[in-house]
Protein backbone atom coordinates (compact mmCIF):
# COMPACT_ATOMS: atom_id res chain seq x y z
CA UNK A 1 0.00 0.00 0.00
CA UNK A 2 1.36 3.42 -0.95
CA UNK A 3 0.84 6.44 1.24
CA UNK A 4 -1.89 8.76 -0.10
CA UNK A 5 -0.67 11.96 -1.74
CA UNK A 6 -1.57 15.28 -0.09
CA UNK A 7 -3.99 15.87 -2.94
CA UNK A 8 -5.82 12.60 -2.29
CA UNK A 9 -5.85 13.35 1.42
CA UNK A 10 -7.49 16.70 0.71
CA UNK A 11 -10.13 14.93 -1.40
CA UNK A 12 -10.91 12.58 1.51
CA UNK A 13 -11.08 15.37 4.07
CA UNK A 14 -13.42 17.26 1.76
CA UNK A 15 -15.59 14.13 1.41
CA UNK A 16 -15.79 13.69 5.19
CA UNK A 17 -16.55 17.39 5.63
CA UNK A 18 -19.40 17.18 3.09
CA UNK A 19 -20.96 14.20 4.91
CA UNK A 20 -20.75 15.79 8.36
CA UNK A 21 -21.83 19.16 6.98
CA UNK A 22 -24.94 17.70 5.34
CA UNK A 23 -25.77 15.81 8.55
CA UNK A 24 -25.51 18.99 10.68
CA UNK A 25 -27.46 21.05 8.17
CA UNK A 26 -30.13 18.35 7.88
CA UNK A 27 -30.52 18.14 11.67
CA UNK A 28 -30.73 21.93 11.96
CA UNK A 29 -33.36 22.20 9.23
CA UNK A 30 -35.30 19.26 10.68
CA UNK A 31 -35.32 20.88 14.11
CA UNK A 32 -36.10 24.38 12.89
CA UNK A 33 -39.10 23.22 10.83
CA UNK A 34 -40.06 20.55 13.43
CA UNK A 35 -40.13 17.93 10.64
CA UNK A 36 -41.25 14.41 11.61
CA UNK A 37 -38.42 13.06 9.38
CA UNK A 38 -35.06 12.14 10.99
CA UNK A 39 -32.51 14.94 10.50
CA UNK A 40 -30.00 12.55 8.93
CA UNK A 41 -32.50 11.69 6.20
CA UNK A 42 -33.00 15.40 5.49
CA UNK A 43 -29.20 15.57 5.18
CA UNK A 44 -29.21 12.65 2.75
CA UNK A 45 -31.86 14.34 0.56
CA UNK A 46 -29.87 17.60 0.67
CA UNK A 47 -26.76 15.78 -0.54
CA UNK A 48 -28.74 13.96 -3.26
CA UNK A 49 -30.15 17.24 -4.59
CA UNK A 50 -26.68 18.80 -4.35
CA UNK A 51 -25.12 15.94 -6.33
CA UNK A 52 -27.84 16.12 -8.99
CA UNK A 53 -27.22 19.85 -9.40
CA UNK A 54 -23.43 19.34 -9.40
CA UNK A 55 -23.84 16.60 -12.00
CA UNK A 56 -21.35 14.04 -10.69
CA UNK A 57 -19.95 12.64 -7.45
CA UNK A 58 -16.64 14.18 -6.28
CA UNK A 59 -13.93 11.49 -6.12
CA UNK A 60 -13.10 11.90 -2.43
CA UNK A 61 -16.77 11.80 -1.45
CA UNK A 62 -17.32 8.61 -3.46
CA UNK A 63 -14.32 6.94 -1.75
CA UNK A 64 -15.26 8.00 1.78
CA UNK A 65 -18.92 7.01 1.26
CA UNK A 66 -18.04 3.57 -0.10
CA UNK A 67 -15.73 3.00 2.87
CA UNK A 68 -18.37 4.14 5.36
CA UNK A 69 -21.09 1.98 3.78
CA UNK A 70 -18.77 -1.04 3.87
CA UNK A 71 -18.30 -0.44 7.61
CA UNK A 72 -22.06 -0.06 8.15
CA UNK A 73 -22.54 -3.41 9.95
CA UNK A 74 -19.82 -2.36 12.41
CA UNK A 75 -21.60 0.93 13.09
CA UNK A 76 -24.85 -0.71 14.12
CA UNK A 77 -23.18 -3.66 15.84
CA UNK A 78 -23.78 -2.20 19.35
CA UNK A 79 -27.49 -1.79 18.59
CA UNK A 80 -27.78 -5.27 17.06
CA UNK A 81 -26.02 -6.91 20.01
CA UNK A 82 -28.61 -5.40 22.32
CA UNK A 83 -31.20 -7.87 21.09
CA UNK A 84 -29.58 -10.62 23.16
CA UNK A 85 -30.15 -8.52 26.27
CA UNK A 86 -33.84 -7.76 25.73
CA UNK A 87 -35.71 -9.14 28.71
CA UNK A 88 -39.23 -7.78 28.17
CA UNK A 89 -40.17 -10.10 25.28
CA UNK A 90 -41.71 -13.52 25.96
CA UNK A 91 -41.20 -16.64 23.89
CA UNK A 92 -44.60 -16.21 22.24
CA UNK A 93 -43.60 -12.62 21.36
CA UNK A 94 -40.52 -13.97 19.62
CA UNK A 95 -42.44 -16.66 17.73
CA UNK A 96 -45.03 -14.12 16.56
CA UNK A 97 -42.26 -11.76 15.54
CA UNK A 98 -40.52 -14.47 13.52
CA UNK A 99 -43.79 -15.45 11.84
CA UNK A 100 -44.49 -11.82 10.93
CA UNK A 101 -40.99 -11.41 9.48
CA UNK A 102 -40.94 -14.68 7.52
CA UNK A 103 -44.49 -14.61 6.11
CA UNK A 104 -44.55 -10.83 5.77
CA UNK A 105 -41.35 -10.89 3.72
CA UNK A 106 -42.57 -13.76 1.50
CA UNK A 107 -45.93 -12.09 0.80
CA UNK A 108 -44.40 -8.69 0.17
CA UNK A 109 -41.69 -10.20 -2.11
CA UNK A 110 -44.37 -11.95 -4.18
CA UNK A 111 -46.69 -8.94 -4.45
CA UNK A 112 -43.88 -6.54 -5.40
CA UNK A 113 -42.62 -8.97 -8.06
CA UNK A 114 -46.06 -9.42 -9.64
CA UNK A 115 -46.78 -5.70 -9.55
CA UNK A 116 -43.53 -4.70 -11.22
CA UNK A 117 -43.89 -7.40 -13.89
CA UNK A 118 -47.37 -6.17 -14.72
CA UNK A 119 -46.28 -2.52 -14.91
CA UNK A 120 -43.21 -3.32 -17.02
CA UNK A 121 -45.34 -5.39 -19.43
CA UNK A 122 -47.71 -2.46 -19.87
CA UNK A 123 -44.89 -0.07 -20.80
CA UNK A 124 -43.39 -2.68 -23.13
CA UNK A 125 -46.75 -2.97 -24.94
CA UNK A 126 -46.96 0.82 -25.25
CA UNK A 127 -43.43 0.88 -26.65
CA UNK A 128 -44.26 -1.86 -29.16
CA UNK A 129 -47.32 0.01 -30.42
CA UNK A 130 -45.40 3.21 -30.94
Amino acid sequence: MTAPSPRELAHWVLGIAILFGCERLGSLIGKALALPVPGTVVGMLLLLVGLMVYGSVPRGLAKVSAQLLFLLPLLFLPAATGVFFLRDLSLSDWLGLLAAILFGTLISLTLCTLLLRRLLRKTDIVHNNE
Partner: protein, 229 residues
Protein backbone atom coordinates in the same frame (compact mmCIF):
# COMPACT_ATOMS: atom_id res chain seq x y z
CA UNK B 1 -7.93 -1.24 37.08
CA UNK B 2 -8.79 -4.17 34.85
CA UNK B 3 -12.53 -3.81 35.45
CA UNK B 4 -12.33 -0.12 34.55
CA UNK B 5 -10.59 -0.98 31.31
CA UNK B 6 -13.25 -3.55 30.47
CA UNK B 7 -15.93 -0.87 30.67
CA UNK B 8 -14.13 1.78 28.64
CA UNK B 9 -14.06 2.45 24.87
CA UNK B 10 -10.50 1.09 24.92
CA UNK B 11 -12.06 -2.33 25.29
CA UNK B 12 -15.42 -1.90 23.56
CA UNK B 13 -14.07 -0.48 20.27
CA UNK B 14 -11.40 -3.13 19.62
CA UNK B 15 -13.95 -5.79 20.59
CA UNK B 16 -16.47 -4.48 18.02
CA UNK B 17 -13.83 -4.03 15.32
CA UNK B 18 -12.31 -7.46 15.94
CA UNK B 19 -15.68 -9.19 15.89
CA UNK B 20 -16.68 -7.33 12.70
CA UNK B 21 -13.36 -8.14 11.01
CA UNK B 22 -13.72 -11.82 11.89
CA UNK B 23 -17.33 -11.76 10.63
CA UNK B 24 -16.28 -10.26 7.28
CA UNK B 25 -13.49 -12.85 6.84
CA UNK B 26 -15.85 -15.72 7.63
CA UNK B 27 -18.52 -14.30 5.30
CA UNK B 28 -16.03 -13.99 2.43
CA UNK B 29 -14.70 -17.50 3.05
CA UNK B 30 -18.14 -19.18 3.12
CA UNK B 31 -20.16 -16.81 0.91
CA UNK B 32 -23.49 -17.71 2.53
CA UNK B 33 -25.91 -14.97 3.55
CA UNK B 34 -26.72 -16.92 6.73
CA UNK B 35 -23.27 -15.96 8.02
CA UNK B 36 -23.68 -12.24 7.31
CA UNK B 37 -20.97 -10.35 9.29
CA UNK B 38 -23.52 -8.70 11.57
CA UNK B 39 -24.80 -12.09 12.75
CA UNK B 40 -21.41 -13.59 13.59
CA UNK B 41 -20.12 -10.29 15.00
CA UNK B 42 -23.09 -9.69 17.31
CA UNK B 43 -22.91 -13.29 18.58
CA UNK B 44 -19.17 -12.88 19.26
CA UNK B 45 -19.68 -9.59 21.11
CA UNK B 46 -22.52 -11.12 23.11
CA UNK B 47 -20.34 -14.10 24.04
CA UNK B 48 -17.52 -11.77 25.14
CA UNK B 49 -19.80 -9.52 27.22
CA UNK B 50 -21.53 -12.50 28.78
CA UNK B 51 -18.38 -14.38 29.74
CA UNK B 52 -16.64 -11.26 31.09
CA UNK B 53 -19.81 -10.24 32.93
CA UNK B 54 -19.98 -6.76 31.38
CA UNK B 55 -23.44 -5.12 31.44
CA UNK B 56 -24.79 -4.30 27.96
CA UNK B 57 -25.34 -0.67 29.01
CA UNK B 58 -21.62 -0.19 29.65
CA UNK B 59 -20.70 -1.63 26.25
CA UNK B 60 -23.33 0.54 24.58
CA UNK B 61 -22.13 3.69 26.36
CA UNK B 62 -18.52 2.91 25.44
CA UNK B 63 -19.48 2.56 21.76
CA UNK B 64 -20.48 6.21 21.33
CA UNK B 65 -18.01 6.77 18.50
CA UNK B 66 -19.75 4.15 16.32
CA UNK B 67 -23.14 5.77 16.93
CA UNK B 68 -21.74 9.17 15.93
CA UNK B 69 -20.70 7.72 12.56
CA UNK B 70 -24.19 6.35 11.82
CA UNK B 71 -25.41 9.87 10.93
CA UNK B 72 -22.84 10.49 8.18
CA UNK B 73 -23.48 6.92 6.96
CA UNK B 74 -27.14 7.77 6.32
CA UNK B 75 -26.05 10.89 4.40
CA UNK B 76 -23.56 8.73 2.43
CA UNK B 77 -26.47 6.66 1.08
CA UNK B 78 -27.13 9.59 -1.28
CA UNK B 79 -23.99 8.68 -3.24
CA UNK B 80 -25.03 5.22 -4.55
CA UNK B 81 -28.52 6.65 -5.03
CA UNK B 82 -27.15 9.38 -7.33
CA UNK B 83 -24.88 6.89 -9.13
CA UNK B 84 -27.86 4.62 -9.90
CA UNK B 85 -30.42 7.26 -10.84
CA UNK B 86 -29.74 6.53 -14.53
CA UNK B 87 -31.50 3.17 -14.09
CA UNK B 88 -34.74 5.11 -13.59
CA UNK B 89 -34.39 6.85 -16.92
CA UNK B 90 -34.40 3.48 -18.65
CA UNK B 91 -37.19 1.68 -16.74
CA UNK B 92 -39.11 4.81 -15.75
CA UNK B 93 -42.33 5.04 -13.82
CA UNK B 94 -43.01 1.31 -13.23
CA UNK B 95 -39.92 1.24 -11.00
CA UNK B 96 -40.98 4.32 -9.06
CA UNK B 97 -44.56 3.12 -8.58
CA UNK B 98 -43.42 -0.32 -7.39
CA UNK B 99 -40.89 1.18 -4.99
CA UNK B 100 -43.48 3.60 -3.57
CA UNK B 101 -46.10 0.87 -3.10
CA UNK B 102 -43.52 -1.63 -1.84
CA UNK B 103 -42.23 0.84 0.76
CA UNK B 104 -45.70 0.84 2.35
CA UNK B 105 -46.62 -2.76 1.58
CA UNK B 106 -43.57 -4.45 3.13
CA UNK B 107 -44.08 -3.09 6.67
CA UNK B 108 -47.90 -3.15 6.34
CA UNK B 109 -48.04 -6.90 5.64
CA UNK B 110 -45.72 -7.71 8.56
CA UNK B 111 -47.54 -5.39 10.97
CA UNK B 112 -50.86 -6.87 9.79
CA UNK B 113 -49.70 -10.42 10.58
CA UNK B 114 -48.39 -9.28 13.96
CA UNK B 115 -51.74 -7.58 14.70
CA UNK B 116 -53.59 -10.80 13.83
CA UNK B 117 -51.31 -12.65 16.25
CA UNK B 118 -52.12 -10.08 18.94
CA UNK B 119 -48.58 -8.72 19.40
CA UNK B 120 -47.81 -5.79 21.70
CA UNK B 121 -47.23 -2.20 20.67
CA UNK B 122 -43.44 -2.28 21.08
CA UNK B 123 -43.21 -5.19 18.64
CA UNK B 124 -45.53 -3.46 16.14
CA UNK B 125 -43.49 -0.25 16.23
CA UNK B 126 -40.21 -2.10 15.74
CA UNK B 127 -41.72 -4.13 12.87
CA UNK B 128 -42.74 -1.02 10.97
CA UNK B 129 -39.08 -0.38 10.11
CA UNK B 130 -38.42 -3.92 8.96
CA UNK B 131 -37.64 -3.27 5.31
CA UNK B 132 -35.66 -0.06 5.70
CA UNK B 133 -31.88 -0.06 5.53
CA UNK B 134 -30.54 -0.17 9.11
CA UNK B 135 -29.10 3.34 9.58
CA UNK B 136 -32.36 4.94 8.43
CA UNK B 137 -34.40 2.40 10.40
CA UNK B 138 -32.49 3.28 13.57
CA UNK B 139 -32.89 7.03 13.03
CA UNK B 140 -36.58 6.41 12.42
CA UNK B 141 -36.90 4.15 15.47
CA UNK B 142 -35.64 7.01 17.63
CA UNK B 143 -38.20 9.29 16.05
CA UNK B 144 -41.20 6.98 16.60
CA UNK B 145 -39.87 5.71 19.99
CA UNK B 146 -39.34 2.09 18.99
CA UNK B 147 -36.77 -0.14 20.72
CA UNK B 148 -33.46 0.35 18.89
CA UNK B 149 -32.11 -3.15 19.52
CA UNK B 150 -35.32 -4.85 18.49
CA UNK B 151 -35.52 -2.72 15.34
CA UNK B 152 -31.92 -3.58 14.41
CA UNK B 153 -32.54 -7.30 14.97
CA UNK B 154 -35.74 -7.27 12.89
CA UNK B 155 -34.05 -5.40 10.04
CA UNK B 156 -31.13 -7.83 10.01
CA UNK B 157 -33.40 -10.91 10.11
CA UNK B 158 -35.59 -9.50 7.32
CA UNK B 159 -32.55 -8.74 5.18
CA UNK B 160 -31.02 -12.18 5.59
CA UNK B 161 -34.31 -14.01 5.01
CA UNK B 162 -35.29 -11.83 2.05
CA UNK B 163 -31.88 -12.27 0.41
CA UNK B 164 -32.14 -16.05 0.86
CA UNK B 165 -35.75 -16.47 -0.27
CA UNK B 166 -35.95 -13.70 -2.90
CA UNK B 167 -34.02 -15.14 -5.88
CA UNK B 168 -35.60 -18.66 -5.80
CA UNK B 169 -39.08 -17.17 -5.23
CA UNK B 170 -38.79 -14.78 -8.18
CA UNK B 171 -37.51 -17.63 -10.38
CA UNK B 172 -40.47 -19.76 -9.24
CA UNK B 173 -42.81 -17.03 -10.46
CA UNK B 174 -41.28 -17.54 -13.90
CA UNK B 175 -39.39 -14.25 -14.04
CA UNK B 176 -35.95 -13.90 -15.61
CA UNK B 177 -35.84 -10.07 -15.72
CA UNK B 178 -32.92 -9.02 -13.51
CA UNK B 179 -34.36 -5.54 -13.06
CA UNK B 180 -37.39 -7.04 -11.32
CA UNK B 181 -35.29 -9.26 -9.06
CA UNK B 182 -33.04 -6.31 -8.15
CA UNK B 183 -35.87 -3.94 -7.29
CA UNK B 184 -37.70 -6.57 -5.24
CA UNK B 185 -34.54 -7.42 -3.30
CA UNK B 186 -33.81 -3.74 -2.66
CA UNK B 187 -37.31 -3.06 -1.35
CA UNK B 188 -37.65 -6.15 0.84
CA UNK B 189 -34.13 -7.07 1.88
CA UNK B 190 -32.31 -3.66 1.82
CA UNK B 191 -28.50 -3.84 2.19
CA UNK B 192 -28.22 -7.62 2.53
CA UNK B 193 -30.43 -8.06 -0.53
CA UNK B 194 -28.44 -5.45 -2.45
CA UNK B 195 -25.20 -7.30 -1.71
CA UNK B 196 -26.84 -10.51 -2.98
CA UNK B 197 -28.13 -8.69 -6.09
CA UNK B 198 -24.63 -7.41 -6.86
CA UNK B 199 -23.43 -11.02 -6.92
CA UNK B 200 -26.05 -11.80 -9.58
CA UNK B 201 -25.20 -8.92 -11.94
CA UNK B 202 -24.30 -5.23 -12.04
CA UNK B 203 -27.74 -4.29 -13.42
CA UNK B 204 -29.46 -6.31 -10.70
CA UNK B 205 -27.27 -4.63 -8.06
CA UNK B 206 -27.91 -1.13 -9.41
CA UNK B 207 -31.68 -1.71 -9.35
CA UNK B 208 -31.44 -3.03 -5.79
CA UNK B 209 -29.32 -0.10 -4.57
CA UNK B 210 -31.75 2.35 -6.14
CA UNK B 211 -34.79 0.61 -4.67
CA UNK B 212 -33.16 0.40 -1.23
CA UNK B 213 -32.24 4.09 -1.17
CA UNK B 214 -35.58 5.39 -2.46
CA UNK B 215 -37.54 2.98 -0.25
CA UNK B 216 -35.58 4.10 2.83
CA UNK B 217 -36.04 7.80 2.06
CA UNK B 218 -39.76 7.35 1.29
CA UNK B 219 -40.38 5.34 4.46
CA UNK B 220 -38.56 7.94 6.52
CA UNK B 221 -40.83 10.61 5.05
CA UNK B 222 -44.10 8.67 5.34
CA UNK B 223 -43.88 6.45 8.46
CA UNK B 224 -43.64 9.24 11.06
CA UNK B 225 -46.78 10.77 9.52
CA UNK B 226 -48.68 7.47 9.72
CA UNK B 227 -47.48 6.51 13.20
CA UNK B 228 -48.22 9.54 15.32
CA UNK B 229 -45.78 9.36 18.25
Amino acid sequence: MSSELLHSPLFALPLSCGAFWFGVLLYRRTGTVLLHPIITASLLVFAALYSLDIPYRDYQDASGLLYVLLGPAVVALAVPLKQNLTVIRRAGWPLLVTIAIGALLAPAVAVGIALLLGMGKSVLLALSGKSITTPIALALAEKIHATLSLTAAIVVLTGVFGALAGPPLVRRLGIRDERILGVVLGINAHAVGTARALEISALCGACAALAMGLCGALSALLLPLIIAP
